[in-house]
Assembly symmetry: C2
Homo-oligomer: 276 residues x 2
């Protein structure tokens, strides 16, 4: 099912600025038994993105109604929720009154093998570099050519590619955030110049804080990542995937990764029972 501004249809006016300039934002949300998982957090990030792009955030009750309408009969799936600046304006100049386009589209849940989670994945370093742009870093906007080009570097030999930015800092995977464990400390790259602040990344940092797992959000080099004791990648659809191989090195599914996976499963269950 696809809903555009509340109407069931599968095409969009070609005047929409989402198409012309990637002038929009999106969230990819797991639907489990009719319920959007981590919805409050997805909407919070979307709202932050709207502030950065000066894009009017829709009335939340309307958005929640539409999300519920699309999700309620879904056992397990993905909801892609997109907001764009709609039509109008001349060239890059936005219209005086912006009518944000709301787009909700359902997708089947991806059929990733269960052993990605239990045994880990094979990862690589991408050649494509993330650019530097502090103005746009963090938010999940629709300007995603860097990820498209990085993902085109391999086929099925790997499950994820890690990306460095122009400053040679390791930032994230093409579709995931990166964590590593070194001597009992959890590390994840700071998202300041490049990258997306993932919903699951934030949750894992909170889990670490609550459970007294020491952690650092900092700049990471390729050398430091390769010397990690444990490595894992995250997003709100896949959860946690341990990395078992990267650039010729192998890693075991370590105790900190297991502990965090356990706490995350608990968090997800408790969140499903709560009102959010």
């Amino acid at each position: 099912m696809i809903l555009i501004n509340g109407e069931q249809r599968d095409t969009l006016e070609i005047t929409d600025r989402g198409l012309h300039y990637g002038d929009g934002l999106f969230e990819t949300i797991e639907i489990s038994q009719g319920r959007p998982v981590f919805l409050t957090r997805h909407l919070a990030r979307l709202k932050t993105g709207c502030q950065v792009l000066h894009l009017p955030y829709p009335k939340e009750t309307l958005l929640l109604d539409e999300i519920q309408h699309v999700s309620r009969s879904v056992d397990h799936g993905i909801l892609k929720l997109m907001l764009t600046r709609g039509s109008g304006g001349r060239g890059y100049r936005q219209p005086e009154v912006i009518h944000t386009t709301r787009l909700l589209a359902l997708y089947p849940f991806p059929d990733y093998p269960a052993y990605y989670k239990s045994e880990g994945i094979n990862a690589r370093f991408c050649t494509s570099r993330l650019g530097l742009n502090p103005m746009l870093a963090g938010i999940k906007h629709n300007n995603r050519l860097e990820q498209v080009l990085a993902r085109a570097e391999w086929q099925d030999e790997f499950q994820e590619g890690l990306m460095l930015n122009l400053n040679e800092q390791v930032i994230e995977g093409t579709m995931t955030n990166l964590f590593l464990v070194k001597e009992g400390v959890l590390y994840t790259p700071e998202i300041v110049l490049s990258g997306i602040r993932g919903v699951l990344r934030e949750i894992i940092l909170e889990i670490a804080k609550i459970n007294n797992i020491p952690f650092k959000v900092t700049s990471l080099t390729q050398e430091f990542v390769l010397l990690a004791d444990e490595l894992f990648v995250t997003n709100s659809v896949i959860g946690i995937w341990p990395v078992k191989s990267l650039a010729g090195k192998t890693y075991t599914l370590g105790s900190v990764t297991q502990k965090i996976s356990h706490y995350l499963a608990e968090y997800k269950t408790s969140e499903q029972g709560s009102a959010c």
Copy 2:
């Protein structure tokens, strides 16, 4: 008139990757008496963009037929020609077989006052910075949030805003390339880390070469730009707009700008008579 893959319609499938990721390229082409101006050069840049994005370039005879079909009865207008990676693939991963979407849309020619050209425009420096990404610099891709945010900084007080990149180099206007004259030498910023290599920018550099106007393509600071004897901005729709004021400084329409404008008019006339 709008043509999508040869069909007259005004909506696009919401699965198109142009919408989701800005996964595409575009050209904005002046149509004069049914004829697309500088077409060969626009198509050459589009082809370069396709190579960078690994996007299959459509059969050129097909593209030329569609361009002619849309343009032939237009006295004066704008043709926006867009190519996107079409639908398919999962997430950032592109489909194995890419069916490039061809989108041609006609717009009225913008009603800019004639004195922008004869007397010059008021320009400003934007606060928004262009990011750094050598992989994407030069080509006219659809990831244009930087320009959208920069253009949102003012309303009608100015006709163009100049953008610096993160390295504090002056790169271009939001919709134009920048040239300046200092002690008889023509300067334009190098487009290596940020910015678009405009069709008219290339033509003007060729005009300078042919007519023995000394020129430099180099890195330019804000201070150097402000100390210019002459300043002008260019794109293939507006041609040349002299800058008469920038950040409190005023500039006169100088002899080099006039000379280049004259040569450009000649070039445009001769190009209209040629086969390209």
